[in-house]
């Protein structure tokens, strides 16, 4: 950024402020209350909406809500069935949970960036990060859960021997290269949850950051020369940029939720394939 002097420190303070979680505890025992609060609220919203639809589900002509929920279900079911050879009654519900929950958490990114933190500050809460998926803890929680399930299903479908063979005799089918094979396997396996979590986090974090920068523009402190255009020009440019980025971001948040779901399905399905 071209920000310098007073304006620059203000801007970085603003961004810094927005990137700080509302938390209690120290070190490892820190709990990000805002991440937890929003993800739980959104999760409860998801399950209560879908549960409500499920309770009122009829085989006859579906209502609007049921229609929407059924479309989601069939979409997920289709994806799962497409890449899943075996039968597992956890897979499709898990995929649905991932998709809808991640989507809702991402959706918080479209809430005006300063609105909720400002409301919270009126209530005496100084820090609030409203998008749970911009917290690595949230994305890793999901990707590591999927990773744990991958390990579990690997052992269940291939057995201890099968997993050992895959670890030590693949890709080089010789016992002399077993340590190297193991190293490759570990890297390969670890790359999955890492990339899964970091991809989602990175996309949303960057998106959030850009919303902040757009917001900063109207504060007139980032681009010094630009600020001299006057408040109306700043307001209009803020509005336009905000709209454009929001529209683009609708794609991003949906796509990221979809990617997270589809990769989880793929990882879990390969884990359950017995050779």
């Amino acid at each position: 950024m071209a920000a310098e002097g007073q304006g620059g420190s203000d801007a970085s303070a603003y961004i810094q402020h927005h990137l700080t979680n509302l938390s209690i505890g120290d070190g490892f025992w820190t709990l990000h209350l805002d991440t937890l609060l929003f993800s739980i609220v959104l999760g409860v919203l998801f399950i209560s909406l879908f549960r409500y639809a499920a309770l009122r589900a009829v085989a006859g002509v579906p209502g609007r809500l049921q229609n929407f929920v059924e479309v989601m279900l069939e979409f997920v079911e289709h994806q799962v069935r497409g890449s899943f050879s075996g039968r597992n009654r956890l897979m499709a519900p898990l995929a649905l949970t991932i998709f809808v929950w991640v989507f809702l958490m991402n959706l918080m990114d479209l809430v005006p960036v300063d609105l909720l933190p400002w409301l919270a500050s009126q209530g005496g809460v100084n820090y609030l990060k409203v998008v749970p998926t911009t917290d690595l803890n949230a994305t890793f929680a999901m990707s590591l859960s999927v990773f744990a399930m991958v390990i579990y299903y690997n052992f269940r479908s291939k057995g201890l021997l099968g997993v050992a063979r895959e670890c030590f005799l693949h890709p080089f089918n010789t016992i002399f290269l077993a340590p190297f094979n193991l190293l490759l396997k570990v890297v390969e396996e670890l790359a999955r949850p890492l990339s899964l979590a970091l991809r989602l986090f990175g996309n949303l974090y960057a998106g959030e950051l850009i919303f902040m920068l757009i917001a900063l523009l109207s504060l007139g402190r980032v681009l010094g020369d630009f600020a001299q255009l006057g408040p109306i020009a700043l307001f209009v440019s803020q509005l336009l940029l905000g709209i454009v980025w929001s529209l683009f971001h609708i794609l991003v948040i949906t796509l990221q939720a979809f990617i997270f779901m589809i990769l989880s399905i793929i990882y879990l399905s390969t884990a359950q394939e017995s050779h």
Partner: protein, 168 residues
């Protein structure tokens, strides 16, 4: 920004959401979808069946109409034959009756003519006797000349002797 215990809390939330979805959301919705699928396919099958039945019924109807038309034609033809027959019969009977009546009439005429001749013959005989009596100057005794009178009467044309001859 570092990872901390939030991660585990989030994982618990995630596990709960997935479990809840699997337990309480997925099955009822899927069964509703399955039921609807079944109902739709049953409805489609019923529609196919109905269409098939309709087609059969149409064919049956066409067949029956054809049959009925044929029967009606047959009946009409039969009726026509019968009416012709009745007409002929009636004409034949009428002719018979008319012939009979004509014959009867002719016989009657002949009988009457014969009777009239007989009457005329006898009257003529009486008249002849009376005339003869007058000419001869005395009465001809009918009893005495009975043989001659009956002979005369028999000789009279159209008398009892040739009644059978109807042409004269």
């Amino acid at each position: 920004m570092a990872l901390n215990v939030t991660l585990f809390a989030q994982a618990v939330v995630f596990a709960f959401l997935a479990w809840f979805t699997m337990r309480y959301i997925w099955p009822p919705l899927m069964s509703a979808l399955g039921d609807r699928e079944q109902r739709i396919s049953a409805g489609l099958a019923d529609a196919d069946e109905g269409r098939r039945i309709l087609k059969d019924a149409r064919e049956l109807q066409i067949g029956m109409m054809e049959e009925n038309r044929r029967k009606a034609e047959e009946i009409v033809a039969q009726a026509q034959r019968r009416s012709t027959h009745i007409e002929e019969e009636a004409r034949r009977k009428a002719e018979e009756v008319s012939k009979y009546i004509v014959a009867e009439g002719r016989a009657e005429v002949r009988r009457e003519r014969a009777a009239a001749r007989r009457e005329l013959g006898s009257q003529l005989a009486t008249l002849a006797l009376a005339a003869a009596g007058r000419i001869l100057g005395h009465e001809v005794n009918a009893k005495r000349h009975a043989g001659m009178l009956s002979e005369l009467t028999r000789e009279f044309p159209g008398g009892a002797g040739d009644i059978a001859d109807g042409t004269s």
